[in-house]
């Protein structure tokens, strides 16, 4: 089919920077509303301009305050900024308190900023399942930079890596001993390290130690993450932090990094989406299909182990994939 349908009016409204339409579209995407799909489809060719920068780190290190400070730097340069602040959803009530907005001070009516709070809605890894799609909508809306602030992360909340081209890991002095930085996870995803609250004692030591660790060897892509000290209380280091982000983005553009990153992210998104649907379908089949139910029963009465049952199901379904 080559018949070109006219763009849905919502797609045109988003490109014309209608804030209410964008806000509603974000809700539709978050809620899995199928009406969003044709609009997203029409907007996709108009995306790819915005750089997505992740701000991650443990809870209480000052991620929201840093986002606010960066917003000040970027707006002063006339850069249009989308912000997504992700906070956790309660597994008990399904409710959440989204508080990232509280740190943001901006001039009322500043059209160059769009801030959206997102609840994680049961998704783990530090972001929501639809954060990537929401970032893309902000891109289509004409934002130059999209800052994504993750849930206060644990050691393995590294999913921001799958949507951002630069990930900033925020730490503070006295967070733990030196062995922490040897561990896998959070420390491995940083393109830029920030020691925030550098007005507190111990910041120099922490920065020196991290620098020594990163100097041991560049990552597989050849980039050595810089370590920047910041204090949002004193307004110090914020420009340097942004320069470090820009340096990483320039590094990506100067070599194969940009194309590789984009391919990896597109692949991850397609795999996520397809496996998600296959998972739902399979779950349904385990309910409806007699043979599959039998296999499930054998696992339950311990006459078959889950590994063998899965191999058989995979073999039976493979030709249908």
């Amino acid at each position: 089919m080559t018949g070109r349908r006219p763009e849905p009016p919502e797609a045109r409204a988003v490109q014309a920077r209608d804030r209410r339409v964008l806000a509603r579209l974000i809700s539709m995407v978050e809620n899995g509303d199928p009406r969003a799909r044709p609009i997203q489809k029409a907007l996709y060719p108009h995306t790819g301009h915005a750089r997505i920068v992740g701000i991650t780190g443990p809870l209480g290190v000052g991620k929201s305050s840093l986002v606010n400070a960066l917003l000040g730097v970027l707006r002063a340069r006339g850069v249009r900024v989308g912000i997504i602040g992700v906070d956790p959803t309660s597994p008990f009530s399904g409710g959440s308190v989204l508080g990232d907005r509280i740190r943001i001070d901006r001039a009322g009516g500043d059209e160059g900023v769009f801030f959206r709070s997102m609840a994680s809605r049961g998704h783990t890894g530090g972001i929501a399942a639809t954060t990537r799609e929401v970032a893309r909508l902000l891109d289509a809306f004409g934002m130059d930079i999209v800052l994504v602030e993750t849930v206060g992360s644990g050691q393995v909340d590294v999913e921001i890596r799958r949507i951002a081209s630069t990930s900033v890991v925020v730490l503070v002095p006295h967070l733990g001993d030196g062995v922490q930085s040897l561990k896998a996870g959070l420390f491995e995803i940083a393109d830029v390290f920030t020691i925030n609250k550098a007005d507190l004692p111990g910041a120099d030591g922490a920065a020196r130690y991290l620098s020594e660790m990163t100097a041991l060897g560049a990552g597989p892509d050849g980039w050595t993450p810089p370590v920047v000290q910041c204090s949002t209380v004193e307004g110090r280091g914020i420009e340097d932090l942004w320069k470090a982000v820009e340096a990483h983005e320039a590094f990506l553009d100067s070599g194969p990094g940009r194309a590789r990153g984009e391919e990896a992210r597109a692949r991850a998104e397609i795999v996520d989406r397809v496996t998600g649907r296959i998972g739902l379908r399979l779950d349904g089949l385990l309910e409806e299909n007699r043979e599959l139910r039998e296999l499930l029963g054998q696992v339950l009465d311990r006459s078959l182990d889950p590994g063998t049952a899965s191999d058989r199901i995979y073999a039976a379904l493979r030709h249908r994939l």
Binding site: G95, V97, L98, G109, H123, R277, D283
Partner: protein, 138 residues
């Protein structure tokens, strides 16, 4: 994890307009709304009417809860309602809590504030009312 089709949670903005440093009531209400399954966007203290309306629009909330103890409600609330109207967002319902004399409360209701709670209001009553006046009924 496959994404399940679930009912969309109600999104509510909780804000304290103007110069008023007492946010315990607002926080308690935010917590109660969270526990009832809502997504509460909490922006807290010293919000200008413009900032509150920006937040309500960008967050696509189903309702706005304003808490005020300063006595400036007859200036700030009508201003917020007017801004919502100007920005084509008058469909977002507004409720209020705080110290608001009966006569003012009557006038504010006439101006469009959907519900007003005084100091003795029960949390379950606030949650039930919030749910019933929210734009989308989840």
């Amino acid at each position: 994890m496959p994404r399940e089709k679930k009912e969309a949670p109600i999104r509510v903005l909780i804000a304290k307009p103007g110069l008023d440093g007492h946010d315990r009531g607002a926080k308690v209400v935010a917590r109660a709304l969270r526990d009832s399954g809502m997504e509460v966007i909490y922006v807290g203290l010293r919000q200008t009417p413009e900032a509150i309306v920006d937040s309500a629009i960008e967050e696509d909330v189903d309702l706005v809860g304003l808490s005020i103890l300063s006595g400036a409600h007859m200036v700030l609330f009508p201003r917020i309602l007017k801004l919502l109207k100007e920005r084509r967002a008058a469909d977002i319902p507004v409720f209020a809590g705080g110290i608001i004399p009966d006569e003012d409360a009557r006038r504010l209701r006439r101006a469009g504030v959907k519900a007003i709670f005084g100091p003795g209001a029960r949390l379950d009553e606030i949650v039930t009312t919030a749910r019933s006046i929210a734009r989308r009924h989840a």
